[in-house]
């Protein structure tokens, strides 16, 4: 099991939520104070480096036009971290390639960071949440098709060694692709893809890439992993799926006492409760299939947005989107989740959000790293396979 400290570099100093219709896309940037923002960048980078000191890996992501994540050019932050850090793996999850006009440029950025970091890049690719559509002016229809054409092209650009090649595809056109530098890692950096649908996961599994899923709780995570394992097997990769192919992102806060842990965890809930977004930003036409939109019109609700309306630490733990408490409690929560979903080899830790202050964030990182992480690594060595019966891992404990 490998753990990653994930920060969205949020800007939490906002007016009352009832004074704006959306925290994303349309929130005027006059609210953003660049001086406070600079101090926040310093602080969040410090926290990543503290996580590295504690043996935890580094993860970041990219969003646009939002106070929830002020990292609209994640490769820039990653380039800084590539020089400031020394040993941690550097996961960007990810590059929103369905919204980027030039996949070849993304291939160049990632190759450059891989070289700058002497081969520590883990290159993630995401379709992007729906609120990214408008900032990118990206067509929400046929995103998945664009995503996969771009990803295949990026991998080809990384691995092609013999001078220019051309690509005349459905969405992207290049006459002469010949990137410098090429990646440090051979044949290319590990590829991660996030998805929340079983069908999408099957596609990721067929490629053998690392599959990540965010805050999908118990049942949805199991369905995504089942999809991945099915895609993996159907592509002829063998029956066994190593756990290091699967990742789960949760809100995590660990402290010595339950009271202190829940106080920190309460602040982490900002990640969910602050996400005020109207339906027309959250569900542009074409982002989800027509059949899903029919169900939404008929009254079906996104489970996560439903949760946001009655968010509590207890509820989030119960839903499997948060691991919080004392080291023993968090171990038990992770184990329960691991067994239910069939096993995963990466825990992506949303370890800072909103008004969780620097000292509190560091307590959470250190307590996890010193008192939970060693036990996780022992219980779930990377040699385990995912999708075997829950009893097998229960026996191992």
């Amino acid at each position: 099991m490998r753990a990653w400290h994930f920060s969205e570099t949020a800007y939490p100093y906002l007016p009352p939520a009832d004074s704006y219709p959306s925290i994303r896309v349309s929130l005027p940037n006059r609210i953003y104070d660049p001086h406070k923002g600079a101090a926040l960048y310093d602080r969040y980078i410090d926290e990543w480096l503290i996580a590295e000191d504690e043996g935890v890996e580094i993860m970041l992501n990219e969003h646009h036009q939002t106070a929830t994540c002020v990292d609209p050019a994640a490769p820039l932050m990653l380039a800084a971290l590539a020089r400031l850090s020394k040993k941690a793996r550097l996961l960007i999850l990810g590059n929103p390639i369905a919204n980027r006009r030039q996949p070849v440029r993304v291939a160049e950025e990632m190759a450059m960071i891989d070289v700058l970091s002497h081969g520590r890049l883990e290159a993630g690719f995401v379709r992007g949440v729906p609120y990214e559509i408008l900032p990118a002016n990206s067509n929400p229809v046929r995103m998945n098709e664009r995503h996969w054409e771009a990803l295949d092209l990026i991998v080809k650009a990384w691995t092609h060694r013999d001078g220019p090649f051309s690509h005349e595809g459905r969405f992207f056109h290049h006459r002469a692709i010949n990137i410098w530098p090429r990646p440090y890692q051979q044949p290319h950096p590990p590829v991660w893809v996030s998805t929340t649908s079983p069908g999408g996961a099957a596609q990721v599994g067929a490629h053998g890439y690392v599959q990540a899923t965010f805050l999908t709780g118990f049942d949805a995570t199991r369905k995504v992993y089942d999809g991945y394992r099915r895609g993996w097997r159907e592509a002829g990769r063998g029956h066994d799926v190593p756990i290091d192919r699967l990742a789960y992102a949760a809100l995590v806060y660990v402290a010595q006492s339950e009271r202190e842990a829940h106080a920190g965890a309460e602040k982490l809930l900002w990640y969910i409760t602050s996400n005020k977004v109207p339906p027309h930003f959250a569900n542009p036409p074409g982002y989800v299939p027509v059949a899903a939109n029919v169900q939404i019109l008929r009254g079906a609700e996104n489970p996560l947005s439903a949760f946001g309306k009655r968010a509590s630490v207890e509820g989030a733990i119960e839903a499997g989107i948060m691991f919080a408490g004392t080291p023993d409690q968090v171990m038990a929560q992770i184990k329960k989740h691991y067994d239910y979903v069939g096993g995963f080899g990466h825990l992506l830790i949303m370890g800072q959000a909103g008004f969780l202050e620097h000292e509190e964030t560091v307590v959470g990182i250190r307590t996890f790293a010193r008192e939970v992480y060693p036990r996780l690594k022992e219980l779930y060595p990377d040699t385990l396979m995912s999708g075997v019966a829950a009893g097998a891992t229960a026996a191992a404990s």
Binding site: V25, N137, N139, V141, H280, P285, G286, N293, R298
Partner: protein
């Protein structure tokens, strides 16, 4: 010619609407036909066509009304390669060939107006007279302001206020719609996004082609239309050599739906006007 056709007859008032499917360029195109007379190709707007719509009857009484569901709308298929109104205009030129129609009256509503303008600019001789209803498709205003408000970046309630003079009467009643009707409505919306997303609601090339359309043209908008402004309509009409504008009272973006009788009277009078003189006299000066 249409050997893969399965006709279905439906009585709409006095008009009988026949539904068929015709294969054009690999697309299964849903095609409605009603009435007899000179052929009129009707290109629907973003909400699609429904054969029960009230304007069908007055038009079918005087014309052979031909209404395809655009690819990706209604029950028409959407091929992978198709992503623009320009593509659809080519499909409809082939449709005219297949129906053996040399020249037609052409009515285009909203994005159907865009398709109509694309079609007419490619083959001006095939358009006898042109009616544009709340049309989109060109950019006439400044770069720092959307000509057409971003209908996908607002709530459905706010959009209804821009679309209709009387939203309470006109907006779809979700609770009463069948699964199939909802599916068509949402698929129409998705295809509309595909076609109009970027550049937003226009083809930058189109305005440099419209001068070829010599046919008399009537540009119509409802006076409560919140998407197509009076300035936009005038600016669009000025790009054609022989166009004039008109307004329909107590109607929004779809005057043919909100005021079907008034719209039919206006449009049919224009289409029936045989003399070029009358048109020229009222024509908007460029």
């Amino acid at each position: 010619m249409t050997n893969n056709v399965k006709p279905v007859d439906d009585a709409v008032g006095s008009a009988r609407v026949q539904t068929t499917t015709i294969k054009i360029a690999g697309i299964d195109l849903e095609l409605f036909e009603a009435g007899q007379g000179p052929p009129l190709l009707w290109l629907h707007g973003g909400q699609g066509f429904h054969r029960n719509q009230e304007f069908v009857e007055p038009f079918a009484a005087r014309r052979r009304l031909i209404v395809p569901s655009h690819p990706g709308f209604g029950k028409s298929s959407l091929p992978d390669w198709l992503d623009s109104p320009d593509d659809i205009a080519h499909v409809y030129l082939e449709l005219l060939d297949r129906l053996d129609l040399d020249a037609v009256d052409l009515v285009g509503c909203s994005i159907g107006g865009w398709i109509a303008a694309e079609l007419a600019s490619k083959a001006p001789a095939r358009v006898r007279r042109l009616v544009m209803v709340g049309p989109v498709g060109v950019k006439v205003g400044p770069a720092d302001r959307l000509d057409i408000p971003d209908m996908f970046a607002m709530s459905q309630d706010d959009l209804s206020k821009l679309l209709f003079h009387d939203p309470a009467r006109m907006k779809p009643d979700i609770a009463r719609m069948s699964e199939e009707e909802l599916t068509i409505m949402l698929r129409n919306r998705e295809t509309l996004a595909l076609l109009s997303w970027e550049p937003w609601m226009h083809n930058p090339k189109l305005k440099h082609r419209l001068h070829r359309i010599a046919a008399p043209a009537l540009f119509v908008r409802g006076d409560s239309d919140g998407l197509v402004s009076a300035d936009y309509l005038q600016g669009y009409a000025r790009l054609l050599p022989n166009a004039r504008t008109a307004t329909i009272a107590a109607a929004g973006h779809a005057p043919h739906l909100e005021q079907p009788q008034a719209f039919a009277a206006l449009a049919l009078a224009f289409l029936d006007d045989q003399g070029a003189a009358g048109t020229a006299a009222r024509r908007k000066q460029a």
